[in-house]
Symmetry: C3
Subunit: 146 residues, 3 copies
């Protein structure tokens, strides 16, 4: 009897914590990485997806990781030429709602791009694909390819 | 001695359960979300992927989440015009095998579509991208973009 | 007192192991599956992504799963015809760095392809989409669609 009383406080936290892990409960904050490797095809679509995403689930932690032809989304003055849309104001608005935008530095090197060519909302990451992998594998980010 | 005997029944379930979580064992039922945002490009491909998926792993829990130009897959009378394929019977067959098909309501609003324009197998979800995120982040669904 | 001393060695491993699972720490080795279903569009892009991936994170466990028009990447003598690039040496190099390449056997059957038509680096899997699902759902692989 006194044994059980001694055990309870030791086991309870284990069980509670474990229960949390096992059932993957609704997180206060879901996380998702949007993968952009072609701004011309994905840009407008992705920015619209993300705006809708936050309209319905405003607490979602969203990262946009760009590499290859995707970094063009974040170049100063970038446009969706087909639909005549300036990306700048859309990016600025989403940044204000907590979205983080990242540019792959390997791509920058290969394409001779420098930091000052990107909008001020842009952050930089050593490798886009490594980043996308780590966000999923280490931090439980969901993945969406627009 | 009597202590160990008392401990065993308390610790065993913890260890068993924990072992299950740590090793991510073959689940009785794997889960996967197929992401469709362009029916013309992905429709036939996706439906064939899913049929093959279930042929090899019939217990897999499959959700198809459609948004943007992807919802066309689930419109009444929808076709793959390039290959002259009616989607209806394929969807009906997959639904019979447990696949669930969902349509993004934000897309419906933007495109002025109503529920009665969709096949009866269709279900509806507030936001396609939120749904895809939640299935991955909360319920451990794998992700496939056909 | 003697009770606690008895309990400690039993509970400690549980807590340590559990802590590891709960916090999802930086793994010694991240894992990621690259999904290829169209070699013409994704081939060169994917192989370059993977090379960059390993340059920055050399310990990453990378699987390339091909199906549908993606298996062409691994056919003997395959080329990126648009850019005049032989895939063979690139695949061989990546295999030497630990990357594993898999071909969907359902696709082979449908397209009447046999094992001896593929490069010797290729491995074979019953179904590409089942494989991609299992790697994510069971083994915590991240997912990248190039």
């Amino acid at each position: 009897m006194s044994l059980r009383r001694l055990l309870a406080p030791l086991l309870l936290p284990v069980l509670l914590l474990f229960g949390a892990a096992a059932s993957m409960p609704a997180l206060a904050q879901d996380k998702v990485v949007y993968h952009i490797d072609n701004a011309a095809e994905q840009g407008t679509k992705a920015l619209r997806n993300i705006r809708n995403h936050l309209d319905v689930a405003p607490k979602t932690e969203i990262r946009v990781v760009t590499h290859a032809e995707g970094v063009d989304l974040l170049l100063e003055g970038a446009q969706d030429k087909k639909n005549n849309i300036d990306y700048g104001p859309l990016i600025s608005d989403l940044k204000g709602r907590g979205v983080r935008f990242e540019v792959c530095e390997i791509t920058m090197k290969r394409r001779n791009l420098t930091r000052d060519q990107f909008v001020m909302e842009a952050e930089f990451t050593q490798s886009g694909v490594v980043r996308i992998t780590e966000l999923q594998a280490r931090d439980r980010y969901a993945y969406i390819k627009p």
